[in-house]
Amino acid sequence: MNMFRLAASAALALAATAVSAQQTVKIGFITSYSGLNGNLGPYMERAVRLYLKQHEKDLGGVKVELLTRDDTGPNPDKARQLAQELVVRDKVNLLAGVIFTPNAMAMAPIATEAKVPFVIMNAGTAVITTRSPYMVRTSFTLWQSSYPLGQWASKKYKTAYSLVSDFGPGHDSEEGFSKAFEEGGGKMLGKVRVPLQNPDWAAYMQRVKDAKPDVLMVFIPAGKTATAVMKNFSDLGLGQAGIKLIGPGDVTTDEELPNMGDVALGVLTVHHYSAGATRPQNKAFVAAWKKEYGQNETPNFVAVGAYDGAAIIVDAIKALKGNMDPDKTMEFFKTWKNPNSPRGPISIDPETRDIVQNEYLREVKRVGGQLANVELETVATALKDPWKEFQKKK
């Protein structure tokens, strides 16, 4: 029986291959493997490869070729040159990836001019997707997490202080949070922007401590900076002083939790994804990740953005049977929905080509001896990027 089914499906696959004449869809995948935050690129690639591996069989014989390129960090001219080459020389059907906002912005004109759909799998500054009609984003915007965070915080706390990294996503996070917090009747005691590469955090933490807010909202790019912030928060005793640490999920990003140790316990964040989420789709995703890359490895929000990015691409290939006409692809992207993402139901807003998703309030707790972001409640359902909504009203 088993043998028969295997043979049958093999025959079917062969037939399909013959029909589509060995079609190949090429994806130009640009991300950061080296340089500042070069640790995030591998998460992205692993997620895409994992999804492709899981769903290769559904493609009806269309082959997917992933051409990976390293943009070496926030290096827009390099990213643009790579994109240009991928389009001109390798004739890719799609561009994808990108950790950093400036790189995505520099690549936007290429996508427009060459009419190559461009799936942004991380870079989270709100404005990015307005730069080209061929862009679609499967990750998040900072407004999406920071705005509901501000709304939620304004109900519980009176005064807040914000501490963000001094770059696009940081500014978005600061604005989103303080707008919502002040609309809810809260008072911002201060806002500080910190250089991206900042060695010692004590001065900033002391400043916050002396201002005595109820909550401190922190956004820094996920990674070792998050750990440094967390340790300084604890070293300087801000917690004992009665200040609560909150933020978008970057500050308690899943893969850094073990490095932070107990100081992270009790930190509240709002984010679209947590590796500790208990919905079955996520459990399956995390299990598949561990099976593929080792028991000690954990996917994070960068991985899930890329995983869903691969999903939107695979679904488009299926729908268009491998004929990736750019405009038809974009039409497909605009109406794409996925009720079963590891982060819950998601879709693309046809108007802005940006992700629509739920935001969850989470708390760092000890689960089975390990720290995890435990989802407490859904603070926003099917949330569009608030920044773009406000722009429309203006």
Partner: protein
């Protein structure tokens, strides 16, 4: 080491880079965006060679001029709507020249580590300004919306990078011609004199300091032009044009090719960028290991950079076959 020489005619070998560039244009049309990038860094390296190779000024801050040029061209277009390529180039050159002259006048009295740190601090400050003044520069998100009108009203910057490549090539050729004129002039000879023994040049009455400021300004101008080219080709400026990293990169490229020999600035960027590009496709997470090994190898076995290897080979060959002419070769 090249320097003042009675024989300033262009040797046939000096045409080789230009022939190579021409062949590249026709034979590898799919690599032109990489090609344009290489040309820009050759120009940048050439500007560094003028001060490092010929005047002995060691700097870790040459990106200050490169970045200022890049931002000048970008801001002119994105904020002020000036989209003419040559106006952008001229403005970038002017701003960088001004900065070169001002900072040069202040810092060129120092030497060695102090000079190194002063140049580094200057580019770091510019980086801070570019980051903070985001209404003008776009801050860390970069400056988008840069446009360049078709050159001479005819040639549009196309997706294949044809126009960009030829445009960069022409600018580089002009710069090469200027540099060549300078290093083979009495002024160039004075510079190498300063590099080799500043005290002696003082002693014979040469205005050492002003000569250095002058060449520093020329070099800054060229670096600014290179930066403007980068902006025009990419229609984007990011913070990565300023600070330690681009300064270090260009220094490495130049020393790799060979310092103070004009064509080292051609060979270094080609080798560095091609090796980087190739390695990064194979091993995106570890490519810099290969570059590191290459650098250490050059240091241990080829002090004069890549061109130094050729010199040694030629000298060896010449001393075998025509012992008499080796004197001329080593004198150069």
């Amino acid at each position: 080491m090249s320097g003042y020489s009675a024989d300033t005619r262009i040797r046939w070998t000096e045409w080789l880079p230009w022939v190579a560039a021409g062949l590249f244009f026709f034979l590898m049309p799919e690599y032109l965006s990489l090609g344009a990038r290489i040309l820009i860094f050759i120009l940048f390296a050439l500007s560094l060679d003028l001060i490092l190779g010929y005047a002995g000024i060691v700097t870790l801050g040459h990106s200050a001029f490169f970045g200022l040029g890049a931002y000048t061209a970008g801001i002119l277009s994105a904020r002020l709507g000036v989209n003419d390529a040559f106006l952008q180039l001229a403005a970038a050159a002017g701003m960088s020249a001004l900065l070169g002259m001002l900072t040069g006048a202040v810092i060129l009295r120092t030497r060695a580590l102090t000079l190194l740190m002063l140049t580094l601090a200057i580019t770091a400050i510019l980086l801070e300004i570019a980051n903070k003044w985001s209404t003008m520069t776009g801050g860390a998100d970069g400056l988008s919306g840069v446009q360049v009108s078709p050159l001479l009203g005819l040639f549009k910057f196309d997706l294949f990078g044809r126009t960009a490549f030829l445009y960069c090539l022409i600018v580089l050729f002009a710069a090469w011609w200027v540099v060549r004129r300078i290093i083979y002039s009495p002024y160039g000879a004075m510079l190498t004199g300063i590099r080799d023994n500043a005290a002696r040049m003082h002693a014979i009455g040469a205005p050492v300091y002003w000569r250095l400021v002058m060449i520093y300004t020329v070099s800054a101008t060229m670096a600014g032009v290179a930066g403007a080219l980068l902006t025009q080709v990419n229609q984007f400026v990011g913070l990565n044009v300023l600070g330690l990293e681009p300064s270090g990169d260009i220094l490495v490229m130049l020393i790799l090719g060979g310092v103070g020999r004009l064509y080292g600035a051609f060979v270094g960027p080609v080798v560095y960028i091609v090796v980087q590009d190739t390695l990064a496709k194979q091993y995106p997470e570890y490519w810099y290991f290969g570059i590191g090994v290459l650098l250490i190898f050059v240091v241990l076995f080829a002090r004069g950079g890549i061109l130094g290897i050729f010199d040694k080979l030629r000298d060896k060959w010449l001393s075998h076959s025509r012992p008499k002419s080796s004197a001329r070769a080593s004198a150069r």
